[in-house]
Symmetry: C2
Subunit: 301 residues, 2 copies
Amino acid sequence: MSLPTESYLIGLIGDGVTPSLTPAMHEREGAAHGLLYLYRPIDLSVLGLPPESVGELVRAAGNLGFNGLNITHPCKQLVIGHLDEVDENAARLGAVNTVVIGTDGRTVGHNTDFSGFLTAFRTGLPDAALGHVVQLGAGGAGSAVAYALLTAGVGHLTIVDIDPARAEGRASELSALFPGASVTAGTTAALASLLAEADGVVHCTPVGMAAHPGTPFDTALLTPRHWVADIVYRPIETQLVREARALGCRVLDGGRMAVGQAVDAFRIFTGLEPDAERMRAHFLGLIEEENRREALAAGAA
Amino acid sequence: MSLPTESYLIGLIGDGVTPSLTPAMHEREGAAHGLLYLYRPIDLSVLGLPPESVGELVRAAGNLGFNGLNITHPCKQLVIGHLDEVDENAARLGAVNTVVIGTDGRTVGHNTDFSGFLTAFRTGLPDAALGHVVQLGAGGAGSAVAYALLTAGVGHLTIVDIDPARAEGRASELSALFPGASVTAGTTAALASLLAEADGVVHCTPVGMAAHPGTPFDTALLTPRHWVADIVYRPIETQLVREARALGCRVLDGGRMAVGQAVDAFRIFTGLEPDAERMRAHFLGLIEEENRREALAAGAA
């Protein structure tokens, strides 16, 4: 067979992962490095398996020669109890999305949602003012993003969620982890006054996806002073991204985080340095293909 | 991710399969077809798993996106109870070495030890006289070979084994499956008289491998009239093959069956026609590499 240093077998475990673009991104980058690199989606909903089966799937993947796994909703917390080791940031975050499986079967968890957003933010919005940032959405992805923002040095982070208790819980957890920063919960009712004071706004809810059209807040609240980061990437040009850009805001689209997490996972799996710009170009091409297919399907219907 | 028609994930389950050349043969042939084709050995002894775990491994492979599995010692019989369907020859033989896993998870078993030897025999020893054949060795591989010989039309097959009961058992099973042929058990003591009457002899014991040097019988019993088939392929040129050829016998080396089973498995997994000669050339190259590495290691020791 191919040597372990020449071939990589990776999987993505989660619910509804069949349409994920991550497998294709990894396979293309692997091929560009001359590797035999195969990446399989392992979709719990297709298999009819509960989220709790993630431990058994990780163990089976080790037995069957997988080099690593990405883990997504709803297994990022659940998987932790089944790993031999978890790196510091993933442990503090309480979420793992990347598992490396050693040739001895030893499993180590990482979080590249956090690191991927952090890299995307630093490279895509360099010199962004970090005094006060408002984040909308305190779910799983939101947690990783908030952790990254505080790691990047945000002084005051206000977390807003339609579920005020969730925003409060997340804010108090992050306050404990980042005692040097101020992390508070805000309400949607207070958004106008929050944004009036904020340097930037990060969007971590599903609004803007095809199934949830619109913007997560009235973009009339934005001024050219604000920077805006979206994590929705289907479409890349969400209504928020489009309107913010038109208003003169500096903008980070959701594709940057999606690519950033894949770039970091590829590096962790292979020990090789991926070409981040090439991976982003692949990713944008895949999104375009997807749009073309959907337009064709709509035309045929 | 890559489409299922563009990428193949295959495994080999068995005890001590790490040094098998089958994964490399498949991967190279897959690459020659432009496929993303990854083939992992799944070694029970490395994993510390009992042969009985084959059912769980097959199920896990289905969940994790494998397209197929080869199965070898000691799981070829055990696996049958865990499959959704078994093809006619594999069912009659009572042994499966190739499992196709459908996109719906449905598993179908085949036996390419049988078909691989049959093809090798027909192409490598065309017009071989089939009146009376003596076979040495009635183990797992021997069973598939005997089944292939009778399928090829051997009129009288004498099976000889150091364990007379095993030879008797195998002969009586095959008699029931091939009522038109005569299948009997012979003893090692009677080999000289058996060979005096035989058209050809097939060797299915480990004698001739590096760890079991020598020939399985006194080659002075061979005449140029005999054809000789060996299934040992490490080395390709066993002492039996070498001496038989020197005596003027037509000879089939063990590599032909090893390649034949891989050729058939590749076709079953992919639906594509492999290039059998290219696979044999790959295989001989791999054996040569192995010899070179061993010679180097011996020199360094």
